[in-house]
Assembly symmetry: C2
Homo-oligomer: 180 residues x 2
């Protein structure tokens, strides 16, 4: 059965983007080959992606999850029925409001591979629904001071088990299992 995991790059103060949604700061931070290796290893395991409703605009802008590096099915939450979109070999399926169903569809599509949850709102909702198996954070060495938080608003306690947290010259990579 597919492992469902939250996958995010965050600052040390837990922001995925600045208050306007910008992530320019991400590209200011030098990474080292070991950082790229960790990310690449995770990415090869991914068999499907679930993104929040705010990612729908991203599709229309021609942006793709993981910069288009993954050719896997993408499930996006939406508030209105929409036909699937196919672009550059990737199928985007829209799921109206029912996150548990989107995750279930993604798990079926992923098979033995992993389902990546992208975005703060979808991640927090899946945590609240008990749908998350693991959390993988790539922590960049920076305090952003303000912005769009990965976990703010979660509103409930979730116990974790540290799996591995390698740190290289650039980033710290924190991997946790959710205890249920």
């Amino acid at each position: 059965m597919a492992t469902v995991f939250i996958h995010a790059t965050v600052t040390l103060d837990g922001f995925m983007a600045d208050a306007e949604g910008g992530v320019d700061w991400m590209f200011d931070i030098p990474t080292v080959p070991e950082d790229e290796e960790v990310v690449k290893k995770v990415m090869t395991n991914i068999g499907a992606v679930v993104g929040g409703a705010n990612k729908t605009a991203t599709v229309e802008d021609g942006e793709e999850p993981y910069g288009g590096a993954l050719q896997v099915p993408v499930y996006l939450m939406t508030h209105e029925e929409r036909e699937p979109v196919e672009r550059k070999g990737t199928t985007y399926t829209f799921v109206v409001d029912d996150i548990a169903r989107a995750v279930e569809m993604a798990k079926e599509a992923a098979g033995d591979r992993w389902v990546s949850l992208l975005g703060g709102s979808i991640s927090r909702q899946c945590l609240q629904l008990g749908l998350v198996d693991e959390i993988h954070l790539d922590v960049v060495p920076l305090l952003l001071g303000d912005g769009i938080s990965l976990f703010a608003g979660l509103g409930q306690r979730v116990d974790l088990k540290r799996v591995e947290t390698p740190g290289f010259a650039g980033e710290a990579h924190l991997r946790y299992r959710v205890l249920r």
Copy 2:
């Protein structure tokens, strides 16, 4: 010259305490001897402590920084003049409103050892004033969902360099240098 550092135990979502200031969750988390070693090594380096005005009540309650394990001068912010208090071999000096002065006094007292900043407000203010050399976080494997945040409200970007981030069965220990 003394190194000034933020020293905090936080959850993976960045909280030092729950919304009521409670830290009971901290004692639910099993640590391993390696975790204790990291904390002990840091503690032996500390030569003085600076705490926020909210720590003043703590002193009156008979609570001490680090549970009384350190016998070093403690400087606490206050809004009104107060005489120093001596208890169990520790001198508590109260500094009215001027955080930079409190840090300066603590650095003089610490000599070549380190000055520990305790608490969110004092930590953020010292970051804003450019007074912080390092940040040491002991990250417990837990999302608290809500509470008193270490960094929320910082409001400005601070660039960091990862120094070391060992992780053991219990905690991840994140140590960063502040770049200026």
